[in-house]
């Protein structure tokens, strides 16, 4: 069924079709319509789920951690400061290996207050052990929500589905809503290896000593470091699983994107711009303009951010004359976060192109096509004039 609706509505329908059992969310702009839509689905009976109106975001994820530990498919959503409020729970859910899915409707963080879009919220949480996938349009939002549950429950790692606040969450676009039957073929019911129960009691996530120690049967059990190592190792393995699930999605729904990177005009591109989220589609307009001027430039939208698909990035970018990274976030005191990740992935490659770093759109600062054209052209034609430190677009000092 086709619908012309908002990104938030697309996400909500994904959650509904995934037959989520427990939803706990606290309203925060620009996530609120998503939460409201879900409460409407539950209240009307259209969705057979527990909708829990928690009193904070920290509690929202606490509810999901507990309900997931007890065997229920669980979901929450938030933005910006809400995401940060649940920060300790992010680490907790990942370390507890719980397949929770969360939509992050990207918004800038205070201080000072902003409600408009940038990526600092989710990008600043890239070290928590959550898988992060960024969406570029509404179809990707609903599809990624469905894939996220499949992925999370396969690898026992929570997944963040990120999409731009206002730019995607509140704008209207056509997208296809699959049927419940199709989704049921793609996503089986949640069947964890263990869910809290009294027949087989266990004490979960208690204090763990630095060293390994025998369990009740006398067998050596892993220590904290092993448990954490396995999270990382499984995240790395998840890179392959992402592609497998994309393939499975293709088979059931007849459509697919690229699991890691969405290229546009990159086959013969000497210069490649790369970014995350809806900006990658905006940059397609810029690429079209520069191509008419004869500049062999392309753009890539990075979908999977964590685990970082470094091999795919290396393969896509090796041998290019220049790589230009655009991002709506940075690691304060250093460089753009995505820029650092890309540079690091290219470091061990043989053909290391120069990489440029552009910061833009913070706190929703408008991004103009003309600005992007000017900056990208300069990076491509006069690369030596662009330094290694982050360059800012649209700053009005």
């Amino acid at each position: 069924m086709h619908m012309i609706e908002s990104g938030n509505t697309a996400a909500a329908n994904g959650v509904r079709l995934a037959k989520v059992q427990v939803i706990a969310a606290y309203p925060i702009t620009p996530q609120t319509p998503l939460t409201e839509k879900l409460s409407e689905f539950v209240d009307s009976g259209e969705m057979d789920a527990q909708y829990i109106p928690v009193e904070s975001e920290h509690s929202a994820l606490a509810v999901c951690i507990a309900s997931s530990s007890a065997g229920a498919r669980s979901f929450t959503a938030t933005s910006a400061n809400g995401l940060l409020y649940m920060n300790e729970q992010l680490h907790w859910a990942a370390g507890a290996r719980l397949p929770i899915v969360m939509c992050v409707v990207n918004r800038g963080i205070g201080a000072p207050w902003t409600v408009w879009n940038d990526h600092q919220d989710s990008v600043s949480q890239r070290d928590t052990g959550w898988i992060q996938i960024y969406c570029c349009d509404h179809q990707q939002i609903i599809d990624t929500v469905l894939k996220a549950f499949c992925l999370a429950e396969t690898v026992s790692i929570p997944v963040m589905v990120c999409y731009d606040g206002y730019i995607l969450s509140h704008t209207y676009m056509p997208f296809d809503i699959p049927t419940q039957a199709e989704v049921d073929r793609f996503l089986p019911p949640f069947a964890p290896a263990y869910a809290l129960n009294s027949e087989n009691p266990a004490n979960l996530n208690t204090v763990t000593l630095p060293d390994v120690r025998p369990d009740v049967r006398g067998n050596m059990a892993p220590g904290y470091m092993e448990i954490r190592h396995n999270l990382h190792a499984d995240m790395r393995s998840a890179i392959g699983v992402v592609a497998e699930i994309d393939q499975k999605f293709q088979e059931v729904f007849g459509r697919n994107g690229n699991p890691y990177i969405e290229p546009y005009q990159c086959d013969d591109a000497e210069f490649v711009a790369i970014c995350m989220g809806s900006l990658s589609y905006h940059l397609r307009d810029v690429v079209d303009i520069l191509r008419t001027e004869g500049l062999p430039v392309g753009v890539m939208g990075l979908r999977l951010y964590r685990p970082f698909p470094d091999q795919a990035v290396r393969e896509a970018l090796a041998g290019r004359k220049n790589v230009i990274v655009f991002e709506k976030a940075l690691s304060y005191g250093n460089q753009g976060a995505l820029y650092a990740d890309i540079k690091s992935a290219l470091y061990c490659g043989k053909k290391r192109p120069p990489v440029h770093n552009y910061i833009l759109g913070l706190g929703g600062r408008e991004i103009k096509t003309a600005q992007l054209v000017e900056v990208l052209k300069k990076s491509c034609t006069q690369p030596d004039t662009v330094g290694d430190e982050p360059q800012w677009i649209g700053l009005k000092l």
Partner: protein
């Protein structure tokens, strides 16, 4: 439990005694029940069992007579204090170490 190739080694603890080791080694004094004073022992039927009720570690059995698990008894002395018949004395562990030697 179903096999789980991912998510192995979650922090999943199973029930069992002695998480803190042999906590009987914490004792300085050991509680000893005088069966000539102990009420259920004297009556030879279920009665009193105050020591069983108040033992924080549950190492006293509700039997006739009550018995104490010295492997885990921490020597807190609550049983000795609460026994209405003053049947429990706290004896220095050194006495028993000598005996056991």
């Amino acid at each position: 439990m179903k096999k789980d190739p991912f998510g192995r080694h979650k922090s999943h603890s199973e029930p069992g005694p002695g998480d803190g080791g042999r906590t009987g080694s914490w004792r300085v004094k050991r509680p000893v029940i005088d069966l000539t004073k102990c009420i259920p022992a004297k009556k030879n039927k279920p009665a009193c069992f105050t020591c069983w009720l108040f033992c924080p570690d549950g190492v006293i059995t509700r039997t006739i007579p009550p018995t104490i698990n010295y492997e885990y008894c921490k020597g807190c002395e609550i049983c000795a204090e609460e026994c209405p018949a003053e049947a429990i004395s706290m004896i220095d562990e050194a006495v028993f170490i000598k005996k056991e030697k």
